[in-house]
Subunit: 494 residues, 2 copies
């Protein structure tokens, strides 16, 4: 506990624990290092930090009381869902409270006519779809972590997934939320109707990485399960041709239910793992899905095949039944663990570019891979222009993690240079806070700070995430100019 004592005097910490124990049951306040261990990182596990303490509220009133104590004592708070986020949005602070919403795990109600479900923030993404399946409905955004990730975390990071090309990101699939702000105020944001008057605080809160308030309930939109879905798996002998095919599909006015790309390295890793019949000779494959009525799907699949072949596909296979469709997808779904089998460590980047930039950015990424002498597998939401380069490295080889981080930073800068952004769906967190300096001007970042101050003037909610200070950006600028090493948030690396 030495590290914590360094940050906050032990007497203050004890006083705070006493205040929290006075308003919460004993088992809802964790202070023991061993008990807090599971909370020391989220999916960005290269960065670990024990929080000062962990609280496990069970009701909105609990959350209000905790935030009031934090507000009064000037204590920082980091909210956490399932901890599957990849950008360190839930990385704890050594002098902060870690507020877990794990006990908010109830589906409150489902309204089939309005096609909505009111759920608590700790409910798992996939659980919603499972619970409404008997109504022929589902919740569309499907991050890879959907079996584990929480809907509150999805709201905090504006999570995406394979089907976001057609069905939108989290922000497009949430109707209403309940939040508690740092002073303990409870507010409803959004409504049960089409539009809500006043500023669009619902969109503002979505993706705000827990920096404006703590979400205590989410009303999600549900969509009807399509009658049928089929997928085309197309092979290309050149990754740039595959990139152009993506642009051509969209340019032809088709909106696929999913449009994913995997390169040769990813295919090899995956095929060895799931044996789904992937084309190992292809430089890249595309998975292009159509869903809807059988008539619609048949017509759309034919158009997709025509565009893919005209774009230079060397082979096209169309799933002939649901089992085959799931088999085609199994490789894509297992891509991350499959890559994990061929490398001691891998680092997943999340950048977003206009579709027309796919080919040049993939080409430049390949060149960077040679430059840094690090393998890079590409598995990504091509239709959205949402890249996920997986850099393969070995953290035990001195300097490899640092080289990996430089490679990653270069890819993100590349995305910005091609008119894109440094995140498609994973958020900024601590992972990409430096690149926010390149993405935005000082004026634009000042707008973010102004919004932050509007909701949390004492900067207690998840400070140090997502929005870099002017100083940090000045330092990052100097480092980029001098080709120096990138500094992450000031959190010990494990």
């Amino acid at each position: 506990m030495a590290a914590i004592a360094d940050i906050m005097p032990e007497s203050s910490r004890i006083a705070l624990v006493d205040m929290l124990r006075a308003i919460l049951p004993a088992h809802a306040v964790l202070t023991d290092a061993e008990a807090m261990k599971p909370y020391e990182c989220d999916g960005l596990s290269a960065y670990r930090q024990l929080p000062m303490l962990v609280v496990l509220p069970q009701s909105v009133e609990d959350v209000q009381r905790i935030l009031k104590v934090a507000h009064e004592t000037g204590t920082k708070v980091v909210a956490r869902g399932s901890g599957t986020g990849l950008s360190g949005g839930a990385t704890p602070l050594g002098d902060g409270i870690l507020l877990s919403l794990a006990k908010f795990n109830r589906i409150v109600s489902v309204d089939p006519l309005a096609r909505t479900a009111r759920v608590q923030p700790g409910v798992r993404n996939l659980k919603i779809s499972e619970d409404v399946a008997h109504l022929g409905l589902y919740y569309a955004p499907d991050p890879s972590s959907q079996i584990a990730c929480s809907i509150g975390g999805n709201v905090a990071e504006n999570a995406g997934g394979v089907h976001c090309l057609k069905y939108g990101l989290t922000v497009h699939n949430v109707q209403k939320i309940e939040v508690v702000t740092i002073d303990g105020t409870r507010a409803t944001i959004g409504s049960d109707a089409l539009d809500t008057p006043g500023y669009d605080l619902l969109a503002l809160m979505t993706g705000s990485e827990g920096m404006l308030g703590v979400t205590t309930e989410v009303t999600v939109k549900l969509v009807p399960k399509p009658q049928l879905a089929r997928v085309v798996m197309a092979s290309f002998d050149d990754i740039e041709k595959a990139g152009d095919a993506v642009a051509n599909i969209i340019g032809a006015g088709i909106v696929p239910a999913g449009l994913e790309m995997m390169d040769k390295l990813a295919n090899a890793a995956v095929e060895d793992f799931v044996h789904a019949g992937y084309d190992l000779n292809a430089e890249a494959i595309l998975l292009c899905e159509s869903d809807g009525t059988p008539e619609d799907v048949e017509e759309e699949i034919a158009r997709m095949e025509a565009v893919l072949k005209a774009s230079g596909a060397t082979a096209c296979r169309v799933s002939s039944n649901e089992a085959e469709r799931l088999k085609f997808w199994s490789g894509r779904k297992a891509a991350f663990p499959a890559v994990g089998r061929i490398s001691p460590d891998y680092y997943c980047i999340d950048g977003s570019i206009p579709r027309r930039a796919l080919s040049p950015v993939l080409k430049r990424t390949a060149a960077l891979s040679l430059h840094y002498k690090l393998r890079c597998a590409n598995v990504f939401h091509a239709g959205d222009g949402n890249l996920h380069p997986l850099i393969l490295f070995d953290a035990n080889i001195p300097g490899e993690l640092e080289r990996t981080e430089q490679f990653a930073a270069d890819i993100l800068e590349l995305c910005i240079n091609y008119g894109g952004t440094i995140t498609g769906e994973h958020g900024v967190g601590i992972e990409k806070i430096n690149q926010m300096c390149s993405q935005f001007t000082d004026n634009e970042r000042e707008m973010f700070f102004a919004v932050k101050r509007a909701f949390d003037p004492s900067m207690l909610l998840n400070p140090g995430k997502a929005i870099p200070t002017l100083n940090r950006c000045a330092e990052y600028g100097r480092m980029r100019v001098h080709g120096g090493q990138l500094a992450h948030a000031d959190i010990p690396r494990f």
Copy 2:
């Protein structure tokens, strides 16, 4: 000019005019009452006020310079597009600058691959679709005023339209904007990629009624023109059955391209005007459109017909060709002018409710119509639950406008009571500022003020619109309790 002199000393006004004339060409600063007459109101024409002066900037630099002058002199600014808004969002202030964006009327560029168009804010909504028609694309949101309304105004009010059920509101169809804030700062909000890091300022700006910044460029998303569209016109002998049919259509998992309702009074007015063959015996008709591939449309139209008949439709006609489809729609499109022919004046309300509340709210509205002895025609976006009751009145009969406003206020309160909101697509402006007191708690309205202060701390951009002060709400509460008359913004009525 006496009224203006009352508000601001003539010497200050002359000094301000001199400052603006020093930075703009002479013809770009209007101060003459006659020249300013066209700017005295927007579509909420019951409220008129000459501005202190009108400026007509031609470049972003002009806008920056004007706002800097306003900021330095503490002068209020109201931005204006085409002035077609229905809630008074562009109603001028007697002591404020009216900033017209009429000269920002250029389509900057079109990117067919990215399916986007960069346009200046004064470009008319329909002009975008006309200009990209040869690419097989169009801009989806289609407010009734689309021939005249500007895209900048659409962004300010988050405009909707007939096709928003399937294609979304303005906020869902805008990719990026450029804004100038009150201190003259120019900022880009949004990006050319799928997602943008940081808080979602793009959604925050959309629908903010010119209170956070002045939009100087808009990048809109374009969608492929569907191959085919057909519409079912269904008759009902009972308006509540029609309301339930709407819920049943959506409940069956169908997402129509448009789903509109018109009642008997509206049908009669329209049929007499456009002779489109509307069923004059029906208590209500529904227009339910399907678009997509021919196969998809055929299948969806069959499903729509089946649900409509099962919901009690007494007749269903399906358009057999494009000419007939446009004829079926001609009545809906002409509904407002048609109602204008049967009444000296009419007042269009814009409220939004969950679809399940359609029947009870329509029933209560009919009862209110009897109570207030004012006819009310219903023409609205039923699929969205977005009501547009048209109250028929004669402003020359003493007391009728006041009764109309009370009727309107009651309808909006009804929407709130049924879980809905006081606007679907027209915005709040000055028209519905009192009802914001019922819609939101003090805490929730304080969040809006906090955001306003973050962008415009001296409250110079369109003050007095959209967000009521605590005092105003206290007064409104007292009036509602005592059944008193409703006060609008403190603007002289014409």
